[in-house]
Every structure is written in C-alpha cells, then in structure tokens.
C-alpha cells in the first residue's frame, strides 16, 4: 500500500464523463491503470456497448464477465467489464426472482431487450446497479474485492440523469426490488465514496459543458470530482516569443539567421516567413486555450492536464497518461 495521499483517497467509484470525443474512454483507462499501480486491484467498466475498452487495449470484444486486461506499473491489476443491459437484467431476474431459465427464453423472444428499452430509467438502473454492486462486493474475509472501480460513463449531457436513478425510476416502482436496487445505487453514487470526473479539451464547447455538468451534479446532490484537461499541447515556445508572435512582431531576421546556422540555407527567407505564420497561429490558439483554462478554474475543482500524444493513443501512450495522472496526485 502506498502511503502517499492522493486527491481522491477514500473514493471507490470514479465516474468519468465529458463531451463525446474528448477522451473519456482513454482517460478512464489511464486512471484505472494509475489507481491500480503499486499492487491494487481496479475494475474498469463500460456501459455504452461500444467495446471501447477492448479496442483501446487491443483485445477481442469483452464478454459480460470481469476479466483481467492489464497489469499496472509496480504491480496491480486492471480488470474490465462491459456491462450489457440485457445480461444485467437476466442477472437481476435470477437474483430477485430465481428466474434464470425463463429469462433466457424471454431473451430469445426479444422481450428482455424490449423491456430494458421501454421502461424509462430501467436500463440505467441496471447498468449503475451492476457497477455499484462491484464497488460494494466483498470477499469472504469481508474486504472489498476491488480497491476502486472506474466507470467510463455516458457523456456530460446524459450523465446526471444516468446517475440520478432514484428519480428516474420513481414512476417505475415505488416499492419492490427495482426501488431497492435504485436506493442502493443512490447510496453509493451520492456518497463520498464516489467522484464524478470530467474530461475536457481546452475548447469552448467542452469547457462550457463541463461547467454546466458540474453545476447540474451539485444541484442533484451528486459529488463532482476532478477536471481532466486532455490533449494539452506542449508549450514549446518561450513566453516572449509567444507574445511577440501573437502581436505579429516575431523577429524574422533572427529566425533567418537561426535557420541558416542550422544549415537550412535554401529559401531561408521564405521558410522563415512560413514558420512565422505557423507560430502566429499557434500563439493565437495558445491565447484561446489559456482563456479556457481560466474559465475552468471557476469550477473550483482539482484540475489535471494530460498531454496530446502526437502519435495517437497506443498501449505505451496509455501508460504514459497513467504516469501523468499519478504524478499530479489524481491517483
């Protein structure tokens, strides 16, 4: 066990949301690796039927079964589970009604799929129910089976509703097992054992969605976690150069001298001008990104920055992101 404090000590369920395409699946996986490092056992869960985890770890599609998919740095395991609402429904029928065989027959007829589709909130309660069950599960000695569970959640626009199951199923069931199930979910997601993290880019729309999402969570009494700023470009240029480029007064001559010194003598002037245009655009972008960073600060949540991996995300990149997450104290 590591003695080092992290920002989320005591949190067992990490829900990762964000605008689509900002890197939820990637960040959830990296966070799971980071949380597992040093000998922990972590479960990474997906619920959208995309098989995003399998793709990321370069595995065949995950069955409805908790399977080890990666070893964390310094020992520790990441297991993964793709929750399928139909399977979760069958499990539920068996658990509460002992209806395993009947459930299977109904699956064949499409009834289970139908029921999980039509009943408002039922699908969500099954998905979150299975997730919270894995959070609470204990081994025979009474210890939690997983040190942490990371949920690759639906995007920001849907996440509050997704987590707010009690309200969602209010019409469905005032009493009975569904209600019990929903209350159990609520007990976990609204507790200090849960943190809902947001993934964003330094762009207007995702930043706005993050702020809105945090406000929505707070309004529903759900616990907002940290903000993971993803795909951050490295700041390569010295501050003065950036400023100069932003005001269109980059010293072209200095650049030309530099290019020539490096042996780029052909068309050095032309190249310098083109590079200056590139730098000016970069400066403009950087300014906008800084503004978004400031906007995010208003949410008053811990922030973590993850670099843009220029060659895309492969396994090595995932471990790199996990390291960055650890280094910043998020795990």
């Amino acid at each position: 066990m590591s003695a080092r404090d992290t920002d989320w000590d005591g949190v067992r369920l990490h829900v990762v949301t964000g605008k689509g395409g900002t890197g939820k699946t990637t960040v959830a996986a990296a966070l799971a690796l980071a949380l597992a490092s040093g000998g922990k056992k972590v479960l990474l869960v997906e619920v959208e039927g995309r098989q995003g985890i399998a793709q990321l770890f370069d595995r065949p599609p995950l069955p409805y079964e908790e399977k080890k998919i990666a070893v964390a740095p310094g020992g520790g395991d990441v297991h993964a589970l793709a929750i399928d609402p139909e399977e979760a429904m069958l499990e539920y029928l068996e658990m509460f009604y002992g209806l395993r065989r009947a459930g299977k027959a109904l699956t064949k007829m499409g009834v289970i799929d139908f029921i999980t589709t039509i009943a408002p909130g039922l699908r969500d309660v099954l998905l979150t129910g299975k997730t919270t069950e894995s959070v609470r599960r204990k081994d025979p000695s009474g210890r939690r089976v997983y040190d942490a569970v990371v949920l690759d959640a639906p995007p920001t626009g849907r996440v509050v509703r997704f987590l707010n199951v009690t309200t969602e199923v209010a019409d469905l069931a005032r009493v009975g097992p569904i209600r019990t199930h929903a209350d159990m979910v609520r007990g976990v997601v609204a507790s200090p054992e849960t943190a809902v993290h947001f993934v964003t880019l330094l762009e207007e729309m995702p930043v706005q969605e993050t702020l809105d999402g945090i406000a929505d969570l707070r309004a529903e009494g759900l616990p907002p976690g940290g903000v993971f700023i993803n795909m951050v470009r490295p700041e390569i240029l010295p501050e003065e150069t950036l400023e100069a480029a932003g005001e269109d007064r980059l010293d072209l001559d200095e650049l030309i001298v530099g290019l020539k010194a490096a042996g780029l003598t052909d068309d050095a002037e032309e190249t310098a001008r083109a590079l200056a245009a590139e730098v000016a655009e970069h400066a403009h972008r950087t300014r906008l990104e800084r503004r978004e960073r400031q906007t995010l600060a208003k949410a008053d949540r811990p922030r973590y920055e993850l670099p843009l991996l220029a060659d895309g995300v492969d396994l090595a990149g995932l471990y790199e992101l996990a390291d960055t997450i650890k280094a910043q104290g998020a795990a």
């Binding site: 007829m109 029921i115 001298v257």
Partner: protein, 374 residues
C-alpha cells in the same frame, strides 16, 4: 502521395436541382458547423436556404438568431442576389407532438400527449431524435418554401444511427412484443403466437414484476390510442426515407482526420451505397496543415538539435521544434486519410483546416465555407 478527386462544393450548392444536403458523421466532427457553413455559402450563391440544426453550440446558435428551441425557421441573412438563409433548431418533442396532432382527432391526441409513456418516449427514447430530424426534413421538403434544405444530423456517436434509428423506432411501435405486452390474449390467439403460448403469461408476469402495473397500463393506453394512427406514422417515415434516395438529395459525410472518425465515415459510405442514397463526398474537417510543409518534421527536428548544440539560437530552435510537432500531427492525419482513400478512391474530398478557435459566428462560418469550396 495519393490524392482523392476534389469535391466541387460550389457546383453542388449552386446546382438548382440540388434540394437537400444531409451532413452526417460521428459525434463532434463538425456536422453542425459544416451544415451551417454550407447553408450560408449557398445563400451567398443566391439560393433560398434553410438549415435544420440539431445541436448548435450556444454561441453559434445565438449568432444565427436562434435563442430558443422553437422549431421555427428564423431569418439569418439576405443577399441582393435574392439568396437568403434561414436557420432552425429541431425540437424533437414538439415535432412528435405535431405528428400526433396531425393524425389523431383532438380527443385521442390529448389522450396520447398526456400519457406518461408517450412523454418519456418522445423526449428520451434513443432514436426519437433521428426520427424527428427526418420527419422535420420531410415537412420542410414538402413545404416548397425552400430551394435548398441543409440538414445537420443528431449527435449520436455513430453516423449510421441517423439511418437506423427511425427504422428502429418504427419497428418498436409496430412490434409484436409491444402487442404481446398489451394484449397477450389477443396475440396468443393469433396463429403466429400459438407456439409461444407458454411464454405469454410469463411475459406479462415478468413485465409486471419489473416495470410495475402502472407503467404497463400506461403502455397499454398509449398503444390502443396510437394504433389507429400507426399506418399514417409509418407511411410518413417511408416517404421521408424515399426523399433521401431522390436525385435532388446529396449526403456529405463529415469526419475528423482520425482513425475512429474515418472508420465511421467508411461504414457510412458503404451503407449509403447499399441504400442507393447519393453520396456527394467526404469533408475532412479540422485538418492540421503547415504553411511550411516543405520543411519535413525530421529535418526540422535535426536542425533544432543542431542549433541546441551550437547554442545561441533559442528562438529558432523552439520554432523548429514547434514545426516538427505540427508536421508529426499532419503526417499522422495524412496517413489516416490515405487509408480511407485506398478503400474509397472515387469519393470526392474537401478539406477544412482546424481553425485556431471555435467557429461561433457568421464570419467564422463564411471562412469555413470558403475553405470548403477551395
């Protein structure tokens, strides 16, 4: 380096026979932006255009005068050459309500509209948004008010959802399971369900247990009220689907120069061919290119290292590093695009560069339009 045929955007927008342009693609790639930019450009070319947006970013919506979700086309700009742009934001619930009102007598309509099951179906069922986008498109198409309709598609993760979801909703409303739940005795009496006889009691039993008697009752009330208008409902959907196959329609697939988005684009292109729906081309949006593309990333890195060794040229070295970084991204994007092109060598392509900031006003849209057309 392979090159794809260039997409002639102005030719497409200016062609008076072109009546509907549908912008599809996976989430976040720039469908809404592209749709709005195309609409503006077509208006500049003198056409009377309406853009049907689904989920514009707040500031973009404001810049087009769309402050509320009200299903009404709002004038955006008008040009001396007679061209004009209107924009509207889809309100899926209201669109659904309007179909009900159009097809049922007032009493029955009220019964449906106040039904709790209908309310959740019309505001949250996966696929309703796609269905209503198509329905709205059909309405605009039939109204004859516009010579060009540009449609943005809902923000589903997969581009195929736009084509699949309406069918799914239709099947659902028409489905045998629904009938089974609602009138098990009747369904059981029909020959086809004889075989399942054992299962039928179980179905209602389980449904009752899991979703409760009240919800089941709501569903029953909804189905019996909706039954009478189902034919009309289905017919409308089929008409709209046909509209998508008509010669005056063109699909533009929008993608980011990323593996996932281009893979989705590939699926979609293949699907359009199967459905005999006309593809105009691929828009690769948010492409990173360098104004100094002649200087390769590798040479740039080597030069920066050389300057580091010599010392004294910090700025030049940093600029070269920045350039190398940009070239690395550009090369990766290029590679992704090339694999799309090898699979679909005849699909015309337009590239739009990644702008430094968001596109949130008419000037921004105009610029995207220019890049699309160049």
């Amino acid at each position: 380096m392979k090159t794809a045929p260039a997409l002639d955007v102005d030719g497409l927008l200016g062609d008076p026979r072109m009546r509907i342009i549908v912008c599809c693609g996976s989430g976040g790639v720039g469908k809404t932006t592209t749709a709005a930019a195309l609409g503006l450009r077509a208006a500049e070319l003198g056409r009377n255009v309406v853009v049907l947006t689904v989920d514009p970013a707040r500031r973009l919506a404001q810049s087009m005068g769309l402050s509320e979700l009200d299903n009404t086309p709002r004038p955006v700009v008008e040009y001396d050459n007679g061209g004009s742009l209107h924009a509207m934001m889809l309100d899926m619930k209201r669109t659904f309500d309007e179909i009900i009102e159009a097809h049922a007598d007032p009493d029955r309509a009220r019964q449906i509209l106040t039904n709790p099951f209908y309310q959740s179906l019309s505001s949250s069922f996966a696929g309703t948004q796609e269905y209503m986008a198509m329905e709205k498109l059909g309405q605009l198409g039939r109204s004859d008010e516009w010579d060009l309709i540009v449609v943005d598609t809902p923000p589903s993760r997969s581009a195929l959802d736009f084509l699949d979801a309406p069918e799914r909703l239709g099947r659902f409303l028409d489905g045998r399971v629904l009938r089974l739940l609602v009138a098990p005795a009747k369904a059981g009496g029909r020959g086809a369900f004889k075989l399942l006889n054992v299962g039928i009691g179980m179905v209602t039993n389980i449904a009752n247990k899991v979703i409760g008697a009240q919800v089941l009752k709501d569903i029953q009330t909804f189905v019996s009220a909706f039954d009478a208008m189902f034919g009309g409902f289905r017919e409308r959907a089929e008409q709209t689907y046909k509209l998508l196959q008509a010669p005056g329609t063109a699909f533009l697939v929008v993608a980011a120069p990323e593996k996932d988005a281009l893979r989705e684009a590939s699926y979609f292109v293949e699907r359009l061919a199967e459905e005999r729906m006309p593809l105009a081309g691929l828009v690769v949006n948010r492409v990173h290119r360098s104004p100094a593309a002649d200087l390769s990333g590798a040479r740039s890195t080597a030069a920066a290292e050389d300057l580091d060794r010599r010392g004294g040229h910090e700025v030049a070295a940093a600029v070269l590093r920045l350039h190398a970084d940009r070239m690395r991204v550009a090369t990766r994007e290029r590679r992704e695009q090339e694999s799309f092109m090898s699979a679909h060598p005849t699909v015309p392509v337009a590239e739009v560069p990644a702008m430094p900031g968001d596109v949130h006003d008419l000037d921004g849209l105009r610029e995207i339009g220019e890049r699309l057309a160049s």
